[in-house]
């Protein structure tokens, strides 16, 4: 063999064109893998995500700076810091009040269950993990977000992602070691969610079922609620554009997600076949694909109280 001959890794018959044809066959097989085998491709994605996320995150920061989001926030905070703080506190207190009311309802249900000798559900605590948004997918057919928090931060599938404390972003669908993927509520793949229209900050209106409309918003029918009708006139308070819609889904979501803000109503239409019934279009206050940071909320089951460390505390 000549000294300068390249090292032959593949057999002679497996030439470059055959190698390409083989690669295409492998890609075709992978492209049509049945869903239950798609876990195989997840391990291939991890190194690529880890390699690309620093550049993607830095570029995202530059874009947000260029878009002026950070500057606008700083300007608003500098112009009226007390007002911004009061607004934040008001949103937070309003959310807590509504959630407390929900908890009272829930406790009443639990008491009723205890009285029927049913089993008491174990205690639950909420864990909040702030996470920086790395970015969206390369293919815009989907709106899934990748954020910098994963198994290392004890994030689990199903955690709820919010922004600005109370604005619902979506739910964690897959978790890697240092990143996780969030399916935003306005992604086409998201299943319908139940919401409740707020007549004002505290009064609840009718419920609604909202589905993503493919344009970054959610749309759906308003449920008729006879209990909201005025007993004297028989009419219920009309819903208006600008009203807030809060999350009210208890089937597949944790209770802690109830009363988070979904968005505001931007359009109301009568259903063509049922003119007395309305459909609404809801737009999130903060578009999930433009948020820079989220907080991941997840329930953690409370274990037994930790044992005191040796030489620490204890009864004399």
């Amino acid at each position: 063999m000549p000294r300068n001959a390249p090292i032959q890794l593949a057999p002679r018959w497996f030439g470059p064109r055959l190698r390409l044809a083989f690669a295409v066959c492998v890609l075709l097989v992978l492209a049509f893998l049945p869903p239950r085998w798609l876990g195989l491709t997840e391990w291939m994605a991890q190194p690529v995500r880890l390699a690309i996320s620093p550049a993607q995150q830095k570029l995202g920061q530059v874009v947000r700076w260029a878009r002026g989001d950070a500057a606008k926030e700083k300007l608003a905070a500098a112009a009226a810091p007390e007002l911004a703080e009061l607004e934040r506190q008001r949103n937070d207190l309003s959310f807590r009040l509504l959630q407390a009311e929900e908890q009272i309802k829930e406790l009443r249900r639990v008491i009723a269950e205890i009285s029927r000798s049913s089993e008491l559900s174990p205690g639950e605590a909420l864990k909040m993990v702030p996470a920086v948004v790395i970015g969206g997918p390369a293919d815009l057919a989907s709106k899934l977000l990748t954020v910098r928090a994963g198994r290392a931060q004890e994030i689990e599938r199903g955690a709820v992602a919010v922004t600005r404390g109370v604005h619902l972003v979506g739910r964690v669908r897959s978790v890697a070691e240092r990143t996780c993927t969030i399916l935003p509520i306005n992604d086409r793949a998201h299943e319908p969610i139940n919401g409740i229209i707020m007549l004002d900050d505290e009064r609840r209106g009718p419920g609604c079922q909202l589905s993503p409309d493919g344009k970054g918003r959610l749309a759906g029918r308003v449920r008729a609620d006879p209990s909201l009708r005025d007993p004297t006139t028989g009419e219920s308070e009309p819903i208006k554009e600008g009203m807030k819609v809060r999350f009210d889904d208890t089937d597949n979501w944790p209770r802690s997600a109830r009363m988070l803000i979904v968005g505001r109503i931007i359009a109301i239409e009568s259903l063509p076949d049922q003119p007395l019934r309305k459909s609404i279009v809801v737009e999130p206050f903060f578009a999930p694909d433009k948020v820079s940071e989220v907080t991941l909320r997840q329930l953690v089951a409370e274990g037994p109280a930790p044992a005191p460390k040796p030489g620490e505390g204890g009864t004399p």
Binding site: L27, L38, V48, A55, L59, G214
Partner: protein, 191 residues
């Protein structure tokens, strides 16, 4: 072709692909330009055919691996890799009959993005028959991708402005240039 140089540019353009198209979206249908497609076209215009095909496969694979889909965040490996390979094949076939200049890059990028979009839509439509976890609207996606391919012409003009002055860095061996007995540069000339 110099693979390390292509790797650096590919990495940068992939990062751009993950951030900038979201900002440049037009309308409610998410019509957005691609920055990786013009790069694949650029390589397909100047590199030997096999090098162009492999570049397209690797870049497409990177896009696929950076695109979780559906309610379960599935990673579908293949649609973009095969799509970009098909696009590179079209460009390698066409490059002999067109003068290779920045304007050709713009036109080729529109053709390549449309070709890639067609292949991706075909694969994902077939997949959607047995993968309900990934909602797929073939008509909507096809129109979005075809409009996006026209928009990609604009991004190709920008990418071309950056890539053509750096042509020497890539050390392309012109597939249509035959070395004479006295040797030659062996590098393709962009104009």
């Amino acid at each position: 072709m110099s693979w390390p140089v292509a790797l650096v540019f590919g990495y940068l353009l992939l990062a751009i692909e993950l951030v900038i198209p979201t900002e440049l979206r037009v309308g409610a249908g998410d019509v957005a330009p691609s920055f990786v497609v013009p790069f694949v076209v650029y390589i397909a215009m100047f590199a030997p055919a096999l090098t162009a095909y492999w570049s397209a496969v690797w870049l497409g694979l990177a896009i696929d691996l950076a695109s979780p889909r559906g309610t379960e965040a599935y990673i579908i490996v293949g649609p973009n890799a095969i799509g970009l390979l098909a696009a590179a094949y079209v460009i390698v076939t066409l490059r002999a009959v067109v003068n290779r200049n920045p304007l050709a890059l713009v036109v080729f990028s529109i053709v390549a993005a449309a070709m890639c979009g067609l292949v991706v839509v075909a694969i994902m439509t077939l997949r959607s028959w047995y993968t309900p976890q990934i909602p797929w609207f073939a008509g909507v996606e096809l129109s979005r991708r075809l409009f996006s391919s026209v928009y990609t012409g604009l991004s190709a003009a920008v990418v071309g402005l950056a890539l053509f002055p750096l042509h020497g860095l890539f050390k392309f061996h012109d597939p249509y240039h035959r070395r004479g007995p006295g040797g030659g540069s062996g590098h393709a000339r962009p104009f």
